[in-house]
C-alpha cells in the first residue's frame, strides 16, 4: 500500500528548531526560500510558535526546487551559514522577506545586515561547506514524501490545509484533545 501521509524521518538535534526543543507538538516544514507560498506561510508558522513556545516547536528543513527556483539552494546555504553564527532564524525571516533575487552580493548584504562576520560567511559560501546539510534535508524530504513547498507535518501527519494561524492552531488543538481522551 502506497502511503504519503506520515513523516518517516526522526527530528534530530541538528534540526533547526524554533520554540522549546522538548515541546510536545512538532511542526515540521520543508521549505524553499524562493517559494512564494513558503514566504506567505512563514508569519503564521512563526506566530503559532511565538504564542506557545513551550507547547509547539517549528522545525525547518530545506527543500530547494532548483529547476524553478535557481537561487533556492544558495539561499539555503546562506541560512545555514547564518546558523553557524547563531542566526539561522534571523536569516530565515530575512530571506522570506526579500525574495527572490538571491545573488551572492544580495546574500552578503543580508548577512551584513544581521551582523554576521562577513569574511567567515563569504568563505563558507564560496567553499559550499553547508551544501551537504542542505542536500541531507532534501533527501529526508524525499523520504518523508514532500508534495510541494511548503510541505508541513504536524506531529508526523502531513497537513495540507490552509497555512493560516487559526487553521493550524485548530489542528493542534484537536490533537491535544485526542491526547486527553
Amino acid at each position: 500500500m502506497l502511503d504519503d501521509r506520515i513523516q518517516r524521518t526522526e527530528i534530530t538535534d541538528d534540526d533547526w528548531c524554533l520554540g522549546e526543543r522538548n515541546a510536545p507538538v512538532t511542526i515540521l516544514e520543508y521549505g524553499d526560500f524562493e517559494c512564494p507560498h513558503c514566504a506567505a506561510a512563514a508569519p503564521a508558522l512563526e506566530s503559532v510558535v511565538d504564542e506557545n513556545p513551550e507547547a509547539i516547536r517549528l522545525i525547518y528543513r530545506h527543500f530547494p526546487i532548483t529547476t524553478i527556483h535557481p537561487f533556492a539552494t544558495i539561499a539555503a546555504e546562506a541560512a545555514e551559514a547564518a546558523g553557524a553564527q547563531g542566526k539561522f532564524w534571523e536569516m530565515h525571516n530575512l530571506l522570506f522577506a526579500n525574495q527572490p533575487m538571491f545573488t551572492p552580493d544580495n546574500l552578503r548584504r543580508l548577512a551584513k545586515s544581521i551582523g554576521l562576520k562577513v569574511a567567515r560567511f563569504d568563505k563558507e559560501m564560496e567553499s559550499h561547506v553547508h551544501l551537504p546539510a542542505v542536500k541531507e534535508d532534501f533527501r529526508r524530504g524525499v523520504l518523508d514524501g514532500v508534495n510541494g513547498t511548503p510541505t508541513i507535518f504536524i506531529n508526523r501527519v502531513r497537513y495540507d490545509g490552509p497555512r493560516e494561524h487559526d487553521a493550524i492552531l485548530a489542528v493542534i488543538a484537536a490533537l491535544a484533545g485526542e491526547r486527553q481522551v
Binding site: 502506497l2 504519503d4 526546487i65 529547476t67 524525499v142 518523508d144 514524501g145 508534495n147 510541494g148 510541505t151
Partner: protein, 165 residues
Amino acid sequence: MSPNPQPNAPAPDFSLPDGNSKRVKLSDFGGKNVVLAFYPADWSPVCTSELAIIQETLEDIRGLNAEVVGVSVDNVWSHRAWAQQQHLSFPLLSDFWPHGEIARKYGVFLEKDGISNRALFFIDGSGNLRSSWIAENPAVAPGINIIFDALEEIMGARSHEARRA
C-alpha cells in the same frame, strides 16, 4: 468513469504525441519501468510543483531503471511551452484528442471537468501494471516518496525473482 486497470495485468497501451509532436508508445520503453503521471492541467500551481519535484529527483528515479511520462489533456503546444518554462526534460504527452481517451482507459478521466485526475501508475519493464496512486483530491499532489516506494518495490521484487531463478 471506467474502472481502474488492475495490477499485475498488462497496462493499457497508449500512443500519444509529446510536446514535439513525436508519438510516444508504452512499448517504446520496453525493459524499463515507467511512471505514468496523469495530472489535470499544464500551468496550474499544484501541477507545477508536482512535476518540478519529479524533475528535481529525476536522476534518482532513473537510477531505478525508470522513465517518467506526464499525461494531461492539454495540447502539444501548451506542453511544449510549459516544459520549456519549467525546464522539464521528461516527455509530456497530449491526451487532447480523442479527448482524455487514455485517461479514460486508466479510469482517471473526470467527466464533469473534462480533465484527468491526478494519478500515478507504475508499469514494469514487461509492460505490466504493478501499482498505482490516485488522488482523493486533485488539488493535492502525491508525496514524492510514492514514486520511490513503488519503484523500489518493483526492483526489489525483481531482484528477489532473480535470486530464486
